[in-house]
Amino acid sequence: MRRKEPEVKPESYERKAEPWPRVPVSGLGREVAQRVLESGIRVDEEERAGTYFQADHSVVSVSLKSAFEGMVELMSTMEAIERHGWVRDLMWGTMDPSADRFTDFASKNWDNGYFIRILEGQRVTLPVQACLFLSKENLNQNVHNIIVAEPGSEAQIITGCATHPSVRHGLHIGVSEFYVRRGAKLTFTMIHNWADEFDARPRTGIVVEDGATFISNYICLKPVRSLQMSPAAYCRGESSRASFNSILYGKGSSYMDVGSRIFLQGKGSRGEIVSRAAAADESTIYARGLLVGEHEDSRAHLECRGLLLSDRAHMHAVPELIGRVKGTELSHEAAVGKIAEDQIQYLMARGFTEREAEALIIRGFMDVGIFGLPERITRDISEMLDRALEGAL
């Protein structure tokens, strides 16, 4: 059954948080480490180029491995503004602070965030990781992140957002703005690990310049009271590319309204949206996708698949295509359904129990292979997905 979107009033959350001391991420407590690990963040920092960790309103840790100095700049957004005046010009460059009441509230109540800049021509071989953590019950955290991939650079960023196990309520507003400069390639993987009474309102804008590529991978597998987001990529440059992949698992009474938007504005611009959403229990999922063709030579495709795992769950796929000029080619395929009986029977004929067959099919449906990430990161995320689904299925 479809649930109404829970009402979220930013003013009703706590704005005061105790400051955290500066500690390396390896010094975080075991409970925190476990939670952030489930969001793809490695506290041992192995296989990572650098780490930004913010808890509540405090910057707890910023570190960059020496091998990547001179290739990446990693710091808080406030520090970045102090160091580079031009960073302020990038803030609210991809969206209007008055876009909605959450952006408006975040612009007036700002709790830092991260700044990541990949310097020109640099290929950063290990992912940079950033974690936004909430440790206090009913707290509101508003971050503003700025990510710049300078011309010809290439990097992977993994962001994990999580709450302390003791936190049930809270509101996270995460404003993220990306500037993918000429010929750069940026892959951004975001994993959310909230609590069942938690509300999240990420707000994301991306500008993709000539010959640049932006890839977004988003995963949310844990219950959340409400999650609403619809990042927008503006493929302004010639031959620019944007793609969004998302994997959602609605559990309990979660309300998820998750979409992606691509505006094809440059000659030869291309876009792709791939979404996999599974709704269990009494969850409600809106899986949206919007493609807007604004250049004659532009093309994009949207694929949205939904799996209903419960008669009490609700899944609403909303694929939208808008052509504003002739010559643009936009297409979509969307499907919503339950697990096919013949698939279950097939696996049972191979000796799987019904439960095992369902779990295997759901796990396969949520295959992170759609992300096209390097093997090592795919394996890490797959293991994380296995752990998350193990408890969920």
Partner: protein, 247 residues
Amino acid sequence: MPLLEIRNLAVEIAGKRVINGLDLDIPEGETHVLFGPNGSGKTSLIMSIMGFRCCRAVSGTIKFDGVDITRLPTDERARMGLGVAFQSPPVIRGVRLGDVVRRLGGSNGDHLEMTRRVNLPIEFMGREINLGFSGGEIKRSELFQVLMQKPKLAMFDEPDSGVDVENLSVIGRAMEEFLRDRAGLIITHQGHILRYVRADVAHVMFYGRIACSGEPEKIFDLILREGYRWCEKCPKVREIRHEEKGA
């Protein structure tokens, strides 16, 4: 005691009777072949032997290895030693052939050996099940899974349909070797597979029942020469049809 013993089986699909008072015995080590016109109930019989929910028995019994399995779920039947190579298996996105085969057991060496035997590149272990497989690849993948499962009774639903000559030879030889010391039940329309697999008994199905049983070569020759018209002359078939109309 036969390995598979079916008595007076009746099966309905969506309220329609598809198997109607069927008896069948398959002793250990014997391979039986099942002929019959389209819609006579051959695939439904295999599905009901496997216990698919769509084809559950409404009356009669199915015994396997001395145990009444009529009400057992499919997975328990599979673990007891029943296996099937499907005619048109479903595509399962995101689930790799390797995920299933690992469950069936065997070492990596066994997997390699069996894939070689059915001429299926080992890379198929990483492929999503049946996604983008050609007709021949589907048949070889199905056979591969059955070989890895090592069932006591292996059922093959049209293993030779839509398969080219070279693939038929690969499939036929692998089936022949596998069925040398096992029981089998094969559905075939064209009978190409019988060039490789020696069947002990053939049955002809009509209206959800076995109308006659006998020597495979003899029956298949008659079908080839006269189609199923010769069956129409058979008093048993007339009787079945009469009963069917009466019902």
